[in-house]
């Protein structure tokens, strides 16, 4: 029977030899050297102390990556390793994992930074394209009283007519002919400039913007130059007679063609009465605005009183008396306050 186990292995009689066992135990005195014992015991105690190699051996390798960084640091302190091969010349993927992961992280960070910079530049580009407030707007805002908090409604045509008539009545002294022409041209330029600016900034809100620039309640300052425009209602009526098609296209809004003999196409024509009604004079120059405004100088004789009168004279002299009288009647309706020349007095009497 085996003294250490319960197996009956030694039951075989031929395997039992007490004499040999005794002789062997007598001679079994060889032991390792004491320094080897101390070395092995120290190695066993050192293995129990915390360290990278011990963690890898004893427990799960959750912090393996951290020890790999320590390994890299130790290699850097002692000189660069023979990357990516170990000293034995064999491939070690762990030596490649750290540089590769570092490179991947750097690439990721650089790509992210570049992407952010690109998006920021794109946003700045879009914001840089936004229209800046015009100098005229700023000037008009400074000169205007505080705006009411109520939403501003676009002016109705009847209101515009009343404004223009009130302004016309306030200027009882009618200027002379050259002054009226110069004033009309200047008013036209101002109107076109401001209208273009308003359309560039807020195209859909152009009428409202113009109305805020020139509120109807604000009195016209002394520096305002109001051209001696005829009654807009008469202009509209005449326009309806002369251009029925054009009137159909713009039925609800009166025209302001007669101000300076200038006819403006598109929506700028809707804004001109407001500008002429209450807009203070803006001294700022915007030459580029003229390029944006589709201005067409009306070449019809009705647009210019002098030319219209010249046409009437020509008709009268050519024998078309009835036609000349008809044109003169129309002229008087369009320009009721325009002084007629004395050579047309017979026609006026016939009228």
């Amino acid at each position: 029977m085996n003294p250490y186990t319960d197996h009956p292995d030694h039951a075989d009689a031929d395997l039992e030899e007490p004499g040999l066992s005794a002789l062997y135990r007598q001679g079994a005195t060889q032991t390792p050297r004491s320094d080897l014992d101390r070395r092995i015991l120290d190695q066993a105690q050192a293995a129990l102390r915390p360290g990278p190699a011990n963690v890898r051996q004893s427990g799960p390798r959750y912090w393996h990556w951290l020890w790999s960084w320590r390994w890299l640091w130790s290699k850097c302190r002692n000189g660069l390793p023979r990357w990516p091969w170990s000293r034995s010349g064999t491939w070690n993927w762990r030596q490649v994992a750290i540089p590769l992961s570092s490179a991947a992280g750097v690439l990721l960070a650089v790509g992210l930074v570049l992407r952010v910079i690109e998006e920021q530049s794109a946003v700045q580009g879009i914001s840089g394209m936004a229209p800046r407030p015009l100098a005229e707007d700023r000037l008009s805002q400074q000169s205007q009283p505080p705006r009411p908090s109520t939403p501003i409604q676009p002016p109705q045509p009847t209101q515009l007519l009343k404004q223009s008539q009130s302004i016309q009545q306030s200027h009882s002294i009618s200027p002379s002919k050259p002054e009226r022409e110069v004033a009309a041209k200047r008013a036209l330029e101002e109107a076109s400039t401001l209208s273009a600016a308003a359309r560039l900034s807020t195209p859909s809100m152009a009428p409202a913007a113009i109305s805020t620039l020139a509120p109807s309640s604000a009195p016209a300052p002394a520096s305002v130059r109001v051209p001696p425009a005829p009654a807009i209602g008469e202009v509209a009526q005449d326009q309806a007679e002369n251009e029925p098609k054009d009137h159909e296209r713009r039925p609800a809004i009166p025209m302001a063609e007669g101000a300076g003999g200038v006819h403006m196409k598109s929506q700028i024509t809707h804004e001109v009465p407001q500008v002429l009604g209450g807009m203070p004079q803006v001294t700022g120059e915007m030459p580029q605005a003229k390029d944006d405004i589709n201005l067409v100088i009306d070449e019809r004789p009705q647009a210019d009183p002098e030319r219209w009168l010249a046409v009437i004279r020509q008709q009268w002299s050519s024998g078309q008396r009835a036609e000349a009288i008809k044109q003169l009647i129309a002229f008087r309706q369009v320009h009721p306050r325009y002084p007629l020349p004395e050579d047309l007095a017979p026609l006026m009497e016939a009228e």
Binding site: N2, P3, Y4, T5, H7, D9, D12, D14, L15, E17, G19, L20, S21, L23, Y24, R25, Q26, G27, A28, Q30, T31, P32, R33, L36, D37, R39, I40, L41, Q43, A44, Q45, A47, L48, Q57, S58, G59
Partner: protein, 171 residues
């Protein structure tokens, strides 16, 4: 070993004191050279220290320890063969013929037993030494050597027969 795996250094000291002599003698009888035996001895213990985290209680610790030692001896034999030693050289190294000086020295029975053990084949010597040093059963000795119980029993029987013949006057 379980205590050492949990961090008890004193448990390892107890294990070492218990197995240091038998393991060293097993390796010494296996390689025949004290320096090589010390080297193998340190290798076995170093491997045990490193493998403490993966130690599983599947057999007796002695069986596991001598299995490590047996594998290390096999590796040593293979490396010796790769260095140019032929099988005949290895056989001569493991079973050297007694010289006249050795015959005189073998006057003592103990020394004669040591000499006779040196002349035994490595497998038979391993079986005898494991049996005498560890007291393991035939199955456990077979587990250490990587063979079956009957094989160990046969090797042990041949070894005892040879030793009895060599030390007939001492027994």
């Amino acid at each position: 070993m379980l205590g050492y795996r949990e961090g008890d250094g004193e448990a390892f000291a107890v294990l070492y004191r218990r197995h240091r002599g038998p393991l060293y003698r097993y390796l010494l009888h296996g390689c025949g050279n004290p320096a090589t035996a010390e080297e193998l001895f340190q290798d076995v213990w170093t491997h045990l220290i490193k493998a403490r985290g993966t130690y599983r209680v599947e057999a007796r610790f002695t069986t596991w320890l001598y299995r490590l030692a047996h594998n290390r001896l096999v590796d040593h034999y293979r490396s010796a063969r790769m260095t140019g030693l032929s099988d005949d050289d290895l056989e001569a190294l493991q079973d050297p013929a007694p010289t006249p000086a050795q015959r005189v020295a073998d006057a003592d029975c103990v020394q004669r037993l040591q000499a006779a053990l040196g002349r035994l084949p490595a497998a038979q010597r391993e079986a005898f030494v494991l049996r005498e040093e560890t007291g393991l059963s035939l199955e456990e000795i077979g587990a250490c050597a990587g063979v079956g119980r009957e094989t160990i029993k046969s090797r042990l029987r041949y070894a005892l027969k040879t030793l009895r013949a060599a030390l007939e006057d001492c027994l």
